[in-house]
């Protein structure tokens, strides 16, 4: 139900993102999805990769500040209102969403990555819907 997200602290300087991506490439790890949040001084790169543990270790070895965070990845049908339905379910349960971004998949479904404030409660809430979660195994196969 929860998958591992690799989070990287990045200074806002030219070439910094490139050096992170290069480490991942050298390790031959596929990046499935990513989002980049930024402030005026620094950014946080959030990635779903084929092998999160190995990616984190490689980044750390390269002197880059990387961490693993548990996030929910939910499959959504390509229909109007499906995302709204998930978000409503979570917010009705009184859980706030800290960040969210789309995950690219090969199959016909859309997929959304959510980091809720309370993961267990969010899982219970989403389970009331007839939706599938993405697993780490699936991410590896993407």
């Amino acid at each position: 139900m929860l998958i591992k997200q690799v989070s990287v602290f990045l200074e806002n300087s030219a070439g910094r993102l490139q050096s992170v991506l290069e480490v991942i490439k050298e390790e031959n790890i596929n990046i499935v999805s990513l989002s980049l949040a930024d402030s005026s001084d620094y950014g946080v790169l959030r990635m779903i990769v084929a092998d999160a543990e190995r990616a984190k270790d490689a980044l750390k070895k390269a002197g880059i500040s990387a961490h693993l965070t548990d996030v929910l990845a939910i499959k959504l049908p390509h229909t109007v209102g499906s995302l709204q339905n998930v978000v409503k379910t979570i917010s009705d349960a009184g859980i706030s969403i800290e960040n969210m971004y789309a995950l690219s998949t090969k199959d016909a479904n859309a997929c959304i990555v959510i980091k809720p404030a309370d993961k267990e409660a969010a899982i219970s809430a989403v389970k009331t819907l007839d939706l599938d979660f993405v697993t780490d195994e699936e991410v590896k196969a993407f």
Partner: protein, 434 residues
């Protein structure tokens, strides 16, 4: 030519001055020996008794006093007068968390006001002037020191303090203010605000007395050109007194020291021996008349040179050149003394950061800015921008409490700041003082 407040003292011959200084030195040494345990011990350790100091020629026998001595005897260890005689306390930053505390007797305050009156008179300010004091009022000596000096001169003081430029300019126009005392960078900021507001023809300023931070001759001329006034450089430090220890006259050829109260020496910061007149070195002061906290051969760490030749203005008091820098790592930011060690000590209290930091000082729109770059401890890294911003704010608030001025904190990746073997470089000062 501008008037002279106290011709008897400011224009006495060099011989008369030496005799007066010699007499006062002997008295001051006797006074500290009998009233300050610290000095008695220091002198005893050096094999000195008060009788060994018979005049100026014996000055170099005396040991130096440093800011650390003030810290080690915090808060009142170097006070010579009993608390019942102390009428005011001021404090400035120490090299670590502890402040440097100084105390004044009623007579000290009078002497201080006398020195500021001499300075103001040098700058052409007299009883017919209205003067805004825009130094910070409080523990910092700038505000109150200038304030009582203006009153003593007979001029009208407007105690603005700092922080409200708009109100300051409004009052400047409405009251017909003719003099201002503040830091030079603040005055440049005020000048630009006046010009932008189209108020230049509505102000009557004729003299500015600026100090409390390093600045340049170019900045002084810029202020004069922008505001069409005479701008002067006033010097002082709380350990010795506060603003008014020295000031430059209308000829701007160095700052006249109030030598009958403060005995100057210039020494080599390496060998700690006196250097010749005109040579650059560290400024050392012995207070000759101070009662609250008299200091013997206090090392200011300010680098300058001295000129004892008479000045065109008629004064004979020795002049020190514009300051060339510091022999220690103290920074003066918006008039406030800041030691990198204070920032380091404060950062050690923040568990989320590593003890690696870089202080970047700059001057933007004539105001000093400080950015402190801090490495985030891996464990505390958050993938939430809001958490990182919360951490930034927390560090900013801790640093503000520690050093008394607002700084900008920038989080950087672990292991990215300079790690030199031995003494690291912790400060990049991009301000230009030449």
């Amino acid at each position: 030519m501008n008037k002279i407040w106290n011709e008897a003292k400011e224009c006495m011959s060099r011989d008369e001055m030496s005799v007066l200084q010699g007499k006062r030195l002997v008295k001051a040494v006797n006074y500290v020996y009998h009233n300050v345990e610290f000095y008695r011990k220091r002198m005893q350790e050096a094999g000195l008794e008060p009788g060994d100091i018979r005049g100026l020629e014996d000055l170099t026998k005396l040991p130096y006093t440093t800011k650390n001595d003030l810290r080690d005897t915090y808060p009142f260890g170097l006070f010579a007068a009993p608390q019942s005689e102390i009428v005011r306390i001021h404090a400035s930053s120490g090299t670590t968390g502890k402040a440097t505390v100084v105390g004044y007797t009623r007579r000290d305050i009078d002497v201080w006001s006398e020195c500021v009156s001499r300075a103001l008179t040098m700058c052409g300010i007299g009883k017919n002037d209205i003067v805004q004091v825009a130094y910070g009022y409080g523990l910092f000596t700038g505000g109150l020191g200038a304030h009582y000096g203006v009153e003593n001169t007979g001029a009208t003081v407007v105690p603005m303090s700092t922080g409200n430029t708009k109100k300051l300019i409004t009052m400047m126009k409405d009251f017909g203010v003719t003099g201002i005392m503040c830091t030079p960078s603040y005055l440049l900021h005020i000048a630009e605000t006046i010009i932008e507001g189209g108020d230049l023809d509505k102000i009557k300023l004729k003299a500015a007395v600026c100090g409390a931070e390093p600045w340049t001759e170019k900045m002084r001329q810029q202020i004069e050109e922008k505001l069409h006034l005479h701008c002067h450089d006033i010097y002082g430090l709380s350990e010795i007194m506060g603003p008014g220890v020295a000031c430059d006259c209308e000829f701007h050829k160095g700052l006249h020291i109030q030598e009958d109260h403060f005995l100057p020496e210039i020494i080599s910061a390496d060998t700690l021996t006196p250097v010749a007149d005109g040579e650059e070195g560290e400024l050392v002061f012995t207070t000759l008349t101070k009662e609250g906290i008299p200091l013997i051969r206090y090392r200011t760490k300010d680098l300058t040179s001295i000129d004892r030749t008479p000045c065109e203005c008629g004064r004979t008091t020795a002049r020190i050149s514009r300051f060339r820098g510091r022999s220690d790592d103290m920074l003066i930011i918006r008039g406030v003394n800041v030691f990198p060690s204070q920032i380091e000590a404060a950062l050690l209290e923040v568990s989320e950061t590593l003890p690696h930091y870089m202080i970047i000082v700059d001057r933007v729109n004539n105001l000093d800015t400080v950015e402190v770059q801090v490495e985030v401890e891996e464990r505390f890294f958050s993938d939430e921008i809001k958490e990182l911003e919360k951490l930034t704010k927390k560090i900013e608030s801790i640093l503000k409490q520690a050093i008394g001025i607002a700084v900008k904190v920038k989080l950087v990746e672990p292991k990215t700041l300079d790690r030199h073997e031995g003494k690291s470089v912790h400060v990049i000062d991009n301000r230009v003082f030449d």
